[in-house]
């Protein structure tokens, strides 16, 4: 299946070397956005060009790759990127979180706890958490340099003033190891606690914005909040209708135009694994009786 006209993992060796240097610097300074010379990739910006470049720089022929998009292994974006690396690197792929050595993700952190040795690669659209408050890049860099992060709280203040509670539900700003304020990419704030003290290495790649940053294993990541309005991870107040899980992040699926809906785990691998081991939700059927999804 591998097309030998490509260099391993598509990018040339000098480019991978350049990206690895940026990754190493990112790991050395957790949460700091390292500029890198992002390449044109054979896919549009917004499809994960940053994540793909980071993954390409980390891949070895022995790796097992998993790609997820909003938690699912079977959406266009995930399937395309998985096929891309199958063709250009010939690496093994999997849908099981536990079997993967590199997981490229868009908008979710897997429900299954990650383990030491795994690398989680995030696709990042806008790496700068202060962007919408302070449009000048020179100024935001200065603010990072001098640790002037009061403005981040102005955003949270505005949320409470308008909605009565911190309404930011995704891309919730975090402080890494007590120093840099970081945008954790548009993961739901439900996933924010999983960023902290993870045994896995977490890498973030923003292709269009040409930035790479990292959260090394066992790094403290704190979600910003107010003393009287503490951070709260939120999810839909339901159990998964397929596997019955109560602790996973849910997608709402509209089933008809009569107001019918069901809530299912956004992490498809997590849901499948649970159903395979006999858990059944309100609308689910046992796996042996056919595919309920």
């Amino acid at each position: 299946m591998t097309e030998h006209s490509y260099n391993f993992a598509y990018l040339d060796e000098q480019t991978k070397r350049m990206i690895r240097r940026a990754i190493l610097k990112g790991v050395a300074v957790p949460g700091y956005q390292v500029p890198f010379a992002s390449r044109e990739m054979p896919m549009p910006y917004g499809w994960g060009t940053g994540g793909v470049q980071v993954t390409a720089a980390c891949l070895t022929p022995d790796d097992t790759l998993k790609v997820i998009d909003q938690g699912a292994d079977d959406t266009t974006n995930a399937v395309s990127i998985r096929k891309f690396f199958q063709r250009t690197a010939g690496v093994a792929v999997t849908e099981a979180t536990t079997e993967a050595s590199i997981i490229q993700t868009r908008h979710r952190i897997p429900e299954t706890a990650l383990s030491a040795g795994q690398i989680l690669v995030y696709q990042v659209p806008i790496p700068e958490p202060l962007r919408f408050l302070e449009p000048r890049e020179t100024e935001t860099r200065k603010m990072h340099e001098l640790e002037e992060y009061g403005l981040m709280h102005v955003k949270l203040y505005e949320d409470i003033a308008r909605h009565g509670t911190i309404a930011t539900a995704y891309a919730y700003p975090v402080k890494v190891e007590g120093r840099y304020v970081m945008d954790p990419s548009p993961i739901p704030k439900f996933d924010n606690p999983k960023l902290s003290n993870s045994p896995a290495l977490q890498l973030f790649g923003a292709g269009r914005e040409q930035r790479i940053y990292a959260v090394p294993p066992f790094t403290t990541v704190v979600s910003l909040d107010f003393d009287d309005h503490p951070f709260q991870p939120t999810k839909a107040p339901h159990d998964c209708d397929l596997c019955g899980a109560s602790e996973s992040y849910l997608d709402e699926v509209i089933t008809d135009d009569q107001g019918g809906r069901m809530f299912v785990c956004s992490d498809t691998d997590f849901c499948q694994t649970r159903r395979a081991s006999g858990h059944i939700g309100a609308l689910g059927v046992p796996v042996s009786e056919g595919d309920a999804a």
């Binding site: 408050l133 001098l146 403005l151 102005v154 203040y157 505005e158 003033a161 107010f226 003393d227």
Partner: protein, 263 residues
């Protein structure tokens, strides 16, 4: 009894030989003065006389070519020109305040009035929403903005209200020195009068020192204790406000005073 008359005779801000060139042109040249605690200094002059350049250099927005700006910080006098940028910026949001001529430059137009006032509090570590909001309401009251406008954006405010909001936003952290660049420019006369009244009250009440740049002699007559007249980047005359305005010595000052329309 003695305490009442114990005046602080050490200057809060001491400027020595401040010079700024734009290429071969003079921005301001060899400006020196002392500003004492609780004192309001007016700087007047025509457009292009270097008064805004001077103010920018004093407030750290621009680096002067020569000279010293010595500010008496809580731990002794420091030259703000040579101090580290981090320290200067910290001072700019605690001990100093800067009121821009155009409120759009000094406010965040996309953020509510409460958020604008609260920003400096959060910048110095305020992390309690209730406290920040209570303080914002208190300050909106002090600048005569109704408490129910706290969640409105500055866009929805009139020019005078925007300017008052900018003042509240700057004074909320209790600065000791306020820089004002034409604070009443662009406002109509009745709004100007109210704003001046308010400023005078706040300056006296909080014991602020202020440097006000303006071309409006009526503003300095009302607010300033001392006056500096600038022309072509040089200070041509300085002294007590009433003395300078009533008995101008320099020919340019005489021209300036006689140019004011009498109604």
């Amino acid at each position: 009894m003695t305490a009442l008359f114990q005046l602080d005779d050490r200057p809060l801000l001491s400027v020595k030989g401040l010079t700024k060139h734009y290429g071969s042109r003079i921005g301001c040249a060899d400006v020196s003065f002392d500003l004492f605690p609780g004192e309001v200094l007016g700087i007047v002059g025509e457009s292009g006389s270097g008064k805004s350049t001077l103010l920018s250099c004093l407030a750290g927005h621009m680096t002067p070519d020569q000279g010293q700006v010595i500010f008496r910080t809580t731990d002794g006098p420091r030259d703000t020109v040579t101090m580290a940028e981090a320290e200067r910026r910290r001072m700019a949001r605690t001990d100093w305040a800067f009121v821009h001529q155009n409120p759009r430059d000094g406010l965040r137009m996309g953020v509510s009035a409460g958020g604008n006032v609260g920003e400096r509090l959060m910048a110095i570590g305020g992390r309690h929403y209730g406290d920040i909001r209570a303080k914002a309401i208190d300050w909106l009251g002090r600048v005569e903005i109704a408490a129910d406008r706290i969640d409105d954006r500055p866009r929805a405010f009139s020019g005078g209200m925007q300017q008052r909001l900018q003042i509240a936003r700057n004074l909320v952290t209790g600065p000791r020195l306020v820089f004002m660049d034409e604070p009443t420019g662009g406002l109509d006369v009745s709004v100007q009068a109210r704003l001046l009244d308010l400023l005078r009250g706040l300056v006296r009440e909080m014991g602020l020192s202020a440097i006000i740049v303006t071309h409006d002699l009526a503003v300095v007559r009302l607010l300033a204790d001392r006056l500096m007249v600038m022309k072509g980047g040089h200070v041509v005359e300085q002294g007590l406000t009433d003395q300078v305005l009533d008995d101008p010595q320099h020919s340019y000052t005489q021209l300036l005073v006689s140019s004011v329309l009498q109604v």
